[in-house]
Symmetry: C2
Subunit: 208 residues, 2 copies
């Protein structure tokens, strides 16, 4: 196929993403990754400094993709996107996140370790929240005063908006297995709940 080592590197990342999300970072060995890719253990150390470097690489990919996605789907620069209602926007966002659900699981797992210094989950959240604030700042600047005080808006957006969405994405399959229900149906039910809780509060606040 003549792709040099780039193809191998991509494979390593793809397999690592799978295994890390299945077994956790510490539960996955470099040997397991090598075996699953079908290469030698030593080769991994040609492409990556160490095991941690693989995970960081995956994390940085997500941050980059998320950044691009947020910029592209900004209602400030967008044209057609302005006509899309909020629930549909959330549905699209969930679609985007579901493609990255495996690495998102790892980000959440690692974020829960209290020894974790630079918390990628909170970094992702902050990117997302900054974007939300910009949106509101651009379109409904005058109305944001509804959220008074320091971190009030941040806390609301994070714990009742960001967290349920991320958790929905990473737990969807497990939930369906546990309760024996259909994934598409669950998405609709989730969006309905999300609309009636987080989004409803948003409306009430910004329409003041």
């Amino acid at each position: 196929m003549r792709t040099g080592g780039e193809e191998t590197k991509r494979k390593i990342l793809a397999v690592a993403e799978d295994l890390f999300s299945e077994k956790g970072f510490d539960g996955t060995s470099v040997g397991m990754i090598a075996d699953a890719v079908g290469i030698n253990k030593g080769l991994i150390y040609y492409h990556f400094k160490n095991k941690n470097d693989i995970m960081i690489s995956l994390f940085l990919n997500v941050i980059e993709e998320l950044s691009e996605y947020l910029d592209k789907n900004s209602t400030r620069s967008g044209d057609a996107s302005l006509s899309i209602d909020t629930t549909e926007k959330i549905r699209q966002e969930i679609g985007f996140l579901e493609k990255r659900k495996r690495i998102l699981s790892v980000i959440v797992m690692e974020a829960l370790k209290s020894e974790d210094e630079d918390n990628f989950l909170l970094k992702c959240a902050q990117m997302h929240l900054n974007h939300e604030i910009e949106e509101i700042g651009g379109i409904e600047k005058s109305k944001t005063t509804g959220f008074s005080g320091d971190n009030e808006f941040l806390v609301y957006e994070f714990f009742t908006g960001f967290v349920p969405i991320i958790f929905f994405v990473v737990m969807k399959e497990k939930w369906c297995r546990f309760y024996g229900c259909d994934g598409d149906r669950l998405l609709d039910l989730f969006l309905d709940s999300f609309e009636r809780t987080h989004l409803a509060a948003h409306m009430r606040q910004t329409k003041r």
Copy 2:
């Protein structure tokens, strides 16, 4: 102190809880636990079958304590508790969960591994949700039809109620460190958001 081995066993569990939540289950070795307790590695295998047995033991403790808590604080059997408003009830629940936040982190971490078969997080959630349903069933039986269909109420309770609360408990410290804010203040802000989203939707539904 003459406590036989029970005191040692308790210490092992307490230390394991700390280390598992700091480094994750797979990131913690039996030797690390033994060192932190100040006993020999081998002694751990006298009290527990293997490393996994320690975690399961911790998980079962939580399930038991949660069960007791839910029974005790049921508004059906309770007398004084009937006079407590919902937000205050949530505040108490968070207080209860915060004492178990370390093992809760571990439960969440483990629940995210896709190889995990018996998902303790979903088991805890189900206990909690069953209790919620019973409460409503007992007090406002006739009004629950507001939540039509199969899993609609379950999805709503889990993703917009249970999940934000659990996440608040396990992420509180990290959030405060990241944004440099006060824990008590964050709790108030969270409860405010929770009231305006999850609880507000609840009111609208049950008051139909």
